[in-house]
Symmetry: C2
Subunit: 203 residues, 2 copies
């Protein structure tokens, strides 16, 4: 974690809060000097991140050991409308984690990691759905990255207008943004008597 | 654009639709072999992307010419709950653009770019807010990237369960996700008689 004397503990707590709230990570890798940024599902397993996604896994498979990656999770919290165009902005919280990602080896360990990934999306779901079999586990590629070198960046609050603009007859403020869950849509053939997943019932 | 015989035209239209709907881009750059992924505001100016963000601009300023970047915009559309944990997924639409980003030079051109960036966030806003002055334009760093090499990836629809799982007594389906705009919060000192920005009135 980016160490700042009074903030390191808080920063880690804040980073974990952001990571636990996000749903998609943007994972950066380098191939022949060209950066690629790939959206991936992820989960937090204590002090490490787990990543899951076919394309990046294929790219990483070409490497024997760890691969330098950057994992960024961003939550958008609001549009910031200032009285001047120059001071328009967005409220957000983001975490950037850099390090070397490694493939998770072993069926049992990958099974546990798959649980972490699913629970990250829908809490309680692993107790409801059928768990993975050996064939599925062999098809599951999970990458792990220690959360050692990480930094948090965020913006909160209203617009920061110049003093001389404060009396302009221009509305200024914040439009909050939230990732909202809609009404669940049952798959074909789902019996109406089946209970909704616990985590979805509030939707 | 990734050329596929029958789809190239549609792919560009689809890419632009996704780019126009997104609010934040995840921009990948490489520094000494290490990838970094930075969330940035962006806008589409015809067939090029404009990027705005202090930190990446500083990194790119160290380079004289163009810099290899990857710009990824991802829209989350839903959580996909399958009957097995293995087939859990997410519905999303994403665009990946790679190329060389260059700083936009010239006050007039940067002024126009700043307008594009603000209009991307809040349509119609440049007609309401105070435009940039010369000092602000000198402080504005905008990067431009041609949308030549781009690819679209997406997932839609319900879970793809194995046939032998279809009769399991497990709810399966999709929980739709949308980035929702909340009730606008006026800044301190905003007179209640001031009209809301046109683009925000529906919020």
């Amino acid at each position: 974690m980016k160490r700042q004397p009074d903030r390191s503990r808080d920063d880690r707590a804040l980073a974990y809060e952001i990571l636990d709230e996000g749903l998609v990570a943007h994972v950066g890798i380098v191939v022949d000097g060209q950066p690629f940024v790939i959206p991936m599902a992820y989960g937090r397993d204590g002090d490490r991140l787990l990543l899951h996604g076919a394309k990046a896994s294929r790219l990483l498979r070409t490497s024997g050991g760890g691969v330098p990656v950057c994992v960024t999770v961003t939550l958008l919290d609001g549009l910031v409308l200032a009285r001047s165009t120059f001071h328009h902005s967005m409220n957000y919280r983001s975490v950037v984690v850099i390090g070397e990602a490694r493939r998770v080896e072993g069926d049992d360990e990958r099974s546990r990691c798959l649980d972490v990934l699913v629970e990250h999306i829908v809490q309680g779901r692993t107790a409801e759905a059928r768990g993975p079999n050996r064939v599925e586990l062999r098809q599951t590629d999970v990458l792990a990255l220690a959360i050692d070198e990480a930094s948090v960046k965020l913006r909160t609050g209203g617009p920061k207008d110049d003093p001389e603009d404060l009396d302009l007859p221009v509305w200024a403020g914040v439009v909050p943004l939230t990732l909202a869950r809609g009404e669940p849509i049952a798959d074909d053939g789902i019996d109406a008597s089946l209970p909704l997943p616990v985590a979805v019932q509030g939707s």
